[in-house]
Each structure stands twice: as structure tokens, then as C-alpha cells.
């Protein structure tokens, strides 16, 4: 991918974001439910309601509201959350790092599990380890992430209570963080007790998110690896006297990874979507958790801000996937 293509992709992102904002803006306003009514104590008058509607800019037509919102959004002002009464941008940016850390951790986990399972399957092709991996994989594919979350809580939180079942960090540790990226910060500043606690908290939600993705990666990678293994260059590598393990790793995996990568990119976006439920189940303080609260409270500015944030994540991930093609496939580099 060269620079002009990168530029083209960045320019394409503008209409996409614009479209998302329009759709979301209209949707959250046509669905039933009155955010103002939910904010007011019982017995408030119609005049009270009108006052609040004006205060939150909900008195004009949808088009008027959108134009005002867009004008402010372009300057970085996404409004004030109705339920939390704080700046939307601040709220979202405050919670975003937690979700990104969870999603990335889960993806790394999924890719590691997927690649290892595929390599083992290919190494023991036609023997029992391959059958075992295929069977487990078929089962994992069929179970969605939130079921895994509940099963994990049951197993490691209740039956065998060795892992914390909620939150991101034990508040009694009383540590302060400069950034929202706790894991990274703890690692870089060498606070290993804190790091251990963070890992104990993140491991269950990330496994719940990672397992379905790992299963999909395994399935796709298995097929593309089988295709790569019959190529002439693999035959040459066999004739060079290399072991099967080395051939898989050195010759085939990289070429097989290209189709798997496309899928991982697409699935990563689903994974970010998956954080909504999983974060709620583990009371993990990310934007997914926040999104559920925002929807429950009909907090229009916050919903809009969150969905735009998701859209930006999707676009960025897709761009990163395309860039990493170039890394794997030298033909796209020139």
C-alpha cells in the first residue's frame, strides 16, 4: 500500500463517519422513550420539562438539532451527557482505554490460540491431535462470547473462586494512574503487584471474547495453510531437508495468514461490539458498559458520542488491517 492509497482511504473515511452520524442521530430520536421524562422527579410540571428540553437543545426539528450538533461536534464539543451531566468527549475518552486494552488483549490471545492450534493441527495432520482440535473448535464456534463469560464466572468465580469476577482493578490497592492504559502503565513503571492484579481481572473477560474469535481464526487459517502447504515452494522447502514444523512456520504460515488477517480484522470489529455485553457481565469500566447504561437512560448525546467512537475504531482497524497486508504481502508494498 503506497502513500496515495493511504490518503485515499483516509479521505474515504470522512463520508463514512458523516453517514454514521446522520443515521445514529435520526435513529436515537425516532425510537420511543423520553430522556427528559426519565431525568425529572415524579410530579414535575410540563413547564419544567420544556425548560430542560430547551436546555439540552431538544426543542427544534431533527434537522435543526443535527446541524447544531454537527457544528459543535466539528469543534470537538459533543455535548453534555444527560444522565451523568458531564462532557461526552471526556466521558468517552476516559473509558475508551479500558475497552481498547481489553479488546487488544483478547485479540492477541485469540491470534495466539488460533495460530498454535492451527500449527499443531497441521503438524499432526491426519492423526488424533488434529481430530481433537477440530472437535473443540467446532464446539467453540457454536458458543457466543457472553455464554463463555457466564460459564467462566461460574467456573473460576464461584465453583473454584480463584479469579475476581468484576471490575478492572482491586480499589484497595489504591494506585494512581497517569493514563487510562493501566496494564501498559503498570508494566512500564514496573509495578508488578498491580500488574498481577490487573491481569487477574482482565483474563476472564478477554478469554470470553477471545475464544469465539480464536475458533474462527483456526478454521480459516487451517484452510489457507492447507492450500499453502501444497505450493511448489513448500515442496522445495521439503526437498531442502527442513522439518515439517520449520516448513509450516517459515514457508507456509505467512502466506496463509493473509486471508486469515482479513477475517481477524472484520472479527475484531465484532469483538469490540462483543465488549458491550461482556463488560456489563464483568462490570468492567469500559465504553461498552457505558453504552448499555446510556441506552437504558436514553442519554442521546452520550449514545451518539459512543457510536461515533465505535465507528472511528472500526475505520481505524480496517485501515490497520489493510496496512498489515503490505507487511505480509510484499507485492502490495511497491
Amino acid at each position: 500500500m503506497n502513500r496515495s492509497m493511504l490518503l485515499r482511504r483516509l479521505l474515504q473515511a470522512i463520508p463514512t463517519l458523516f453517514g454514521v452520524s446522520v443515521v445514529v442521530f435520526v435513529l436515537v430520536r425516532v425510537v420511543p422513550g423520553n430522556p427528559i421524562a426519565m431525568m425529572l422527579p415524579p410530579g414535575a410540571t410540563a413547564a419544567d420539562m420544556e425548560r430542560l428540553r430547551v436546555a439540552y437543545g431538544l426543542d427544534g426539528s431533527i434537522v435543526e438539532q443535527y446541524v447544531i450538533w454537527l457544528g459543535q461536534a466539528l469543534t470537538g464539543a459533543f455535548g453534555t451527557s444527560i444522565s451523568l451531566r458531564q462532557d461526552v468527549l471526556e466521558l468517552v475518552l476516559g473509558r475508551l482505554p479500558a475497552t481498547l486494552e481489553l479488546a487488544l488483549f483478547a485479540t492477541v490471545l485469540a491470534v495466539t490460540i488460533g495460530v498454535l492450534a492451527t500449527m499443531l493441527g497441521s503438524l499432526y495432520r491426519g492423526r488424533w491431535p488434529e481430530t481433537l482440535i477440530d472437535t473443540i473448535n467446532g464446539f467453540t464456534l457454536a458458543v457466543p462470547d457472553f455464554i463463555w463469560a457466564l460459564a467462566l464466572i461460574l467456573l473460576f468465580g464461584v465453583v473454584l473462586p480463584i479469579l475476581p469476577i468484576s471490575g478492572r482493578i482491586n480499589p484497595r490497592l489504591g494506585t494512581e494512574f497517569l493514563t487510562g492504559f493501566y496494564l501498559l502503565e503498570a508494566l512500564l513503571t514496573g509495578r508488578f503487584t498491580v500488574l498481577g492484579d490487573l491481569l487477574r481481572h482482565i483474563i476472564m473477560p478477554s478469554i470470553a471474547l477471545a475464544l469465539p474469535l480464536a475458533a474462527i481464526i483456526t478454521r480459516v487459517l487451517k484452510n489457507s495453510l492447507a492450500e499453502a502447504m501444497v505450493q511448489d515452494y513448500v515442496m522445495i522447502a521439503r526437498v531442502k531437508g527442513f522439518s515439517r514444523w520449520r516448513i509450516i512456520w517459515q514457508e507456509a504460515l505467512r502466506n496463509a495468514a493473509i486471508p486469515a488477517l482479513t477475517l481477524t480484522g472484520v472479527q475484531f470489529t465484532f469483538l469490540v461490539g462483543g465488549t458491550v455485553l461482556v463488560e456489563k457481565i464483568f462490570s468492567y469500566p469500559g465504553i461498552g458498559n457505558m453504552a448499555i447504561d446510556a441506552v437504558t437512560n436514553r442519554d442521546l448525546p452520550l449514545i451518539q458520542g459512543l457510536i461515533l467512537c465505535f465507528a472511528v475504531i472500526f475505520i481505524t482497524v480496517n485501515l490497520l488491517v489493510d496496512l498489515s497486508y503490505a507487511l505480509l504481502n510484499p507485492r502490495l508494498r511497491s
Binding site: 515452494y233 522445495i236 521439503r238 526437498v239 531442502k240 531437508g241 514457508e251
Partner: protein, 288 residues
């Protein structure tokens, strides 16, 4: 002249029954190019794959031996066989476009055997790869080392593959239709190059091809195959000028030549094929 490859009574069979190569014997000596000629299904590729130990899963060697410098390759453990492959035995594949890994640089693909089998350091191996590229007359070898395969033309890739095959100074090279996918002008250059390299290094070559013309130009000895059976074997002079087998003669008459008008072309009579198919069936009847 010592014997490098000594195939005796080689029978390659499908696991579910049926033979693909029927008791073939052939020898290749140091510095000799031995042509393995036949049409599709004649078994020439199966013999090559049997020597390299890369037969498909559904196929196995049922009887016979493949002697390499006095050792039967079929008796070696996988580990000891792998130690020979890539060091003492190498191959040049048919298709230069798929023979190189698209995502690895030329230098990595050329040096991995040098480092693995001969224990050379990264720098030492790179120097040797550079010398090899010069030897196969690639322009700008220093730059080519750091290129990816898609940045080279078909002829250049085949030169790289040839250089790769000769890298560890093997005693035997299996060339599997190495010029079939190339343009005719490039084919001539590549044939010349294989001959030069083979003569310079004294390498024995088993040259698999369907093209009698190519055989005539590069081989010292020829084995003509049909339905997995040897129909003719001997020196190139013998086979080209007084072939005994009807199939060899018919194949010559069916090969079009730009220096002869159309009426000189005679398709192989069906009876010739049939006789050989019958012989194969008789063989299978005796050896189920």
C-alpha cells in the same frame, strides 16, 4: 565415473491398489544428465518424487531400491534422509513462478540450506549466495538478493532456483520439467545454464521432461517411459538415431518440427499405445 543414483526395480503403487511405476531401473553417473521422457501418466514425475521422498499420501514405493552413492534411500530414517536432502540432493522445479516463496526475500531463500546444512554464518552464506547469482549470470546480483520473487522476471526466477539448487554443491539434482513454463528463447538460455553449471560442478542430473527436443540437446542418457514401464533406455545417440521401441519411433514422428512441412507429421498409432497398455495390464495381473 562413479554411480550416483542407482534405481533398481522401483515399483510405485497407489495405496488402494494399482501401480504407477512398474519395476523401473536406471542409473545416473557423476557428471551425467539422464533424461526421463514420457507423456502425462507415464510415471516420470512419480520416479522423481520417489527419489526426493515427496510422494503424495495416497502413493507409496512398494518394492525396489533407490541407491544414492551406495546407500538405499528407502532404508534411511526420516531424520537421516532429511540430512541428505538439500545438502546432497536438490531439485529444480517446473514453475519458476510458484517455486519461490512470495513473501521471503531471495537472500533468505538462497541461504537457508547453506546455514542449515553447512552451518555457515549469515554473512558467509550471503557471500556465497552472491557468488552463485554471479555464476548464473544474473545482472546486479547484490540488488537481486534483497528483492522479493515478484520483482523478478520468469527467466530470472528460474536462474535463482538453479543457483539455489547448486548452492550446497549436491551430487544429484532432480530437474522436473525446468523449462516447460518458459518462453523458447529463455528456455535455451536456461538449458545452457543448467549444462554449464552441471559440467562445472560435476553434478549428476535426473532431467524429467516430455520434450524430445530438449532431451536431444541436454541429456547424455535417456529412459523413455510409457504407463510406468521402461520402453527404451540408452545413450542419447542411440535413442535419437536408432531407437528400437515402436513407441519411441512413433513419438519422434509425432513431434512437429518447424523445419519440416505438415505432411511429415504422423500421430502415434493407437495400436502402439494399446500394446503398452496391454503389457501394463499383464504386469498387474502377475503382480497384484
Amino acid at each position: 565415473m562413479s554411480l550416483i543414483l542407482d534405481i533398481a526395480g522401483l515399483r510405485v503403487s497407489l495405496r488402494r491398489g494399482g501401480h504407477l511405476v512398474r519395476d523401473v531401473s536406471l542409473q545416473v553417473a557423476t557428471g551425467q544428465v539422464h533424461g526421463l521422457v514420457g507423456e502425462s501418466g507415464a510415471g516420470k514425475t512419480m520416479i522423481a518424487k520417489a527419489v526426493l521422498g515427496i510422494l503424495p499420501d495416497a502413493v507409496r514405493v512398494s518394492t525396489g531400491s533407490i541407491g544414492f552413492k551406495g546407500t538405499d534411500l528407502l532404508s534411511l530414517s526420516p531424520r537421516r534422509f532429511r540430512a541428505l536432502l538439500g545438502r546432497e540432493i536438490a531439485m529444480i522445479p517446473q514453475d519458476p513462478l510458484t517455486g519461490l516463496n512470495p513473501s521471503r526475500r531471495i537472500v533468505a531463500q538462497m541461504t537457508d540450506t547453506l546455514r542449515h546444512h553447512l552451518g555457515q554464518s549469515r554473512g558467509e552464506a550471503r557471500g556465497n549466495a552472491l557468488r552463485l547469482l554471479q555464476e548464473v549470470q544474473i545482472r546486479d546480483p547484490e540488488k537481486v538478493l534483497d528483492r522479493y520473487p515478484h520483482e523478478l522476471s520468469g527467466g530470472m526466477r528460474q536462474r535463482v532456483l538453479i543457483a539455489m539448487a547448486f548452492a550446497t554443491e549436491p551430487s544429484l539434482i532432480i530437474a522436473d520439467e525446468p523449462t516447460t513454463a518458459l518462453d523458447v528463447t529463455v528456455q535455451k538460455q536456461i538449458l545452457r545454464l543448467i549444462r554449464q553449471m552441471q559440467e562445472r560442478h560435476g553434478t549428476a542430473v535426473l532431467f524429467v521432461t516430455h520434450d524430445l527436443g530438449v532431451v536431444a540437446k541436454i541429456c547424455h542418457q535417456v529412459t523413455v517411459l510409457h504407463t510406468g514401464q521402461v520402453v527404451e533406455q540408452g545413450s542419447i545417440d542411440h535413442v535419437m538415431s536408432n531407437a528400437a521401441a515402436p513407441f519411441t519411433r512413433a513419438l519422434m514422428a509425432a513431434t512437429p518440427r518447424y523445419d519440416q512441412p505438415a505432411d511429415a507429421l504422423h500421430p502415434v498409432p493407437e495400436a502402439v499405445h494399446q500394446t503398452l497398455r496391454d503389457a501394463a495390464r499383464t504386469f498387474d495381473g502377475r503382480n497384484p
